[in-house]
Symmetry: C2
Subunit: 325 residues, 2 copies
């Protein structure tokens, strides 16, 4: 009843922005991501008959706060699925996702937790089933089950039974790289959960955002199929800008951007003006991720590091899905 799984984080190129069901974590739109090899969580789950409650260690430290409750609540779903309502687990997670890099460690975290827990109980889940259960821990985590480009189908059913991720191009590997640009900016003021909710409820731009997704998705999948980096980059950048536009219309309005965020965006545009294909995307925080091709790694990295207010640039490439150790 013990298993260890490793899952990588992912960066959305077509953003997940807005929930249609907060409890089941059902999104208002399909999203598409690239799994990254640089950042991961490794989690061991051991179910033990002698435990009367779950125990959770993160980076060797016992966790008892809200993070613990998210883990327990998620293990309840696994227990329900396994019909083992009184079987508790000891969980050990090692997070190789620096919070400062602006990646949600919840994506790799819940993917690794779900995979290890399901394997520990020998649930024999298909990847789709695993993705579906993972989604209920953290939405974007459902994409981290797979490597490479991944699409999360929002689904239509009220119970979420058709809301899970699938690989977009499972056969071939395409070496697209991502630089995570870390800013010295402080923590974000509006959580992504609160930001989504406020935007869905109050932004006049939200419905246009949702309406614009199907054509973005179709185009970017075409670009991935054709390995057309500029097409993929352009659509990703434009999609990110649309997502951030919706927050400016919320009531009260807000933005995740800081001054250095803008400086990085401008630098990426300058790179393109100088003939280097590079594109940015930004999640619900101030940090920027820059997509580029391997041959431009040195130039891209050097230029990004020179921007005042940038404290670190972490490089990553297309990574694999969940693995078991």
């Amino acid at each position: 009843m013990k298993a260890t799984a490793k899952a990588h984080t992912n960066i959305a190129l077509i953003k997940y922005w807005g929930k249609r069901d907060e409890k089941l974590i059902l999104p208002t739109n399909n999203s598409l991501s690239l799994t990254l090899d640089g950042f991961y969580t490794k989690t061991t789950v051991e179910f033990r008959e002698d435990l009367t409650e779950d125990i959770f260690y993160l980076d060797h430290k016992l966790v008892t706060d809200e993070q613990y409750h998210r883990v327990t609540k998620f293990l309840d779903l696994i227990r329900e699925y396994a019909q083992e309502k009184t079987l508790f687990a000891e969980v050990h997670s090692i997070n190789e996702v620096p919070t400062a890099a602006g990646f949600a460690s919840s994506a790799s975290g819940f993917a690794a937790l779900a995979a290890a827990a399901a394997r520990a109980l020998n649930l024999g889940l298909s990847d789709q089933e695993l993705s579906k259960i993972t989604r209920q821990g953290s939405g974007s985590a459902c994409r981290s089950i797979y490597g490479g480009f991944v699409e999360w189908h929002k689904g239509m059913e009220l119970d979420g039974s058709d809301s899970y991720a699938v690989p977009v191009s499972p056969q071939d590997h395409w070496d697209v790289r991502v630089a995570a640009v870390v800013l010295s900016a402080k923590m974000k003021k509006v959580s992504s959960r609160e930001g989504m909710r406020r935007t869905v409820e109050t932004s006049p731009f939200f419905s246009s955002w949702v309406d614009s997704i199907p054509s973005d998705l179709e185009d970017i999948k075409q670009g991935i199929k054709e390995r057309d980096f500029e097409k993929v980059g352009q659509i990703a950048e434009a999609n990110c800008l649309k997502m951030h536009a919706t927050t400016l219309g919320a009531n009260p309005p807000f933005t995740y951007w800081h001054d250095t965020t803008l400086a990085v965006m401008q630098t990426v545009q300058q790179l393109r003006e100088n003939g280097i294909p590079a594109y940015f995307t930004i999640d619900a925080g101030p940090n920027v991720k820059v997509l580029y091709l391997p041959e431009n790694e040195e130039k891209v990295q050097d230029i990004l590091r020179e921007i005042p207010g940038v404290t670190d640039v972490k490089l990553s490439r297309s990574g694999q899905g969940v693995t078991y150790i």
Copy 2:
């Protein structure tokens, strides 16, 4: 056949963003502005029988480029109105609107030109007629005919006959101040004309922007009536953010913001967190205008001047409409 008029620039609190007729300069939405005393254009127009074409001096220099053609084209409208198709003018303009401050000198410029030309020919125009003709030189200029808070009615007619500005609160003076924060940033890459056009044609957010205007206008006019500075400031800031959101959805997307633009926005929000009511608004360029009350002038000015990348802060207060000298 000679007259001199002085007109001030204005800052839109409900933005003019989108044209329904490019030739007649008819907007897609009503807008509302505050006329500012700090920045103005003084223009003398003399119609002379001996001239065979218009002559235009700006700041004592003869102008022959595109600016000259905009002036001549505008004087054609005046000539048409006066039924004096072969009467040309010598025009002298002095611009006290530093381009670097990010104010469109075309607002005060065309208001002063229209007023001086109409007066020189003794056309006996009402303010509304003058505003309507001014509009055809530069849209936002039609608001500079009046002092204080001014609303530009977009109008419904195809010929623009009901598209002109009117004063919002003609009776009483309210001492609201504006700091124009000048950035070291380079010239903007997308003109406001091109930016509007691209947004109208391609942004999925444009129709929601237009739909959101009537309630913003109603609320801000209520705020002006009640002299509720925080209400006026909040609506102005939110309206500006919505306008800039529309550009992020355009194809290709663009923004007028620079890194220092964001830094100023954040500083204004910090001012509020420290109990000082201050609100920003941004036109189609990187510079920021900050609204504040007289009692906070020193604090606001000091804090804005300290922001790295800010080269100057120019203070202004509510100004008067067109005057004749």
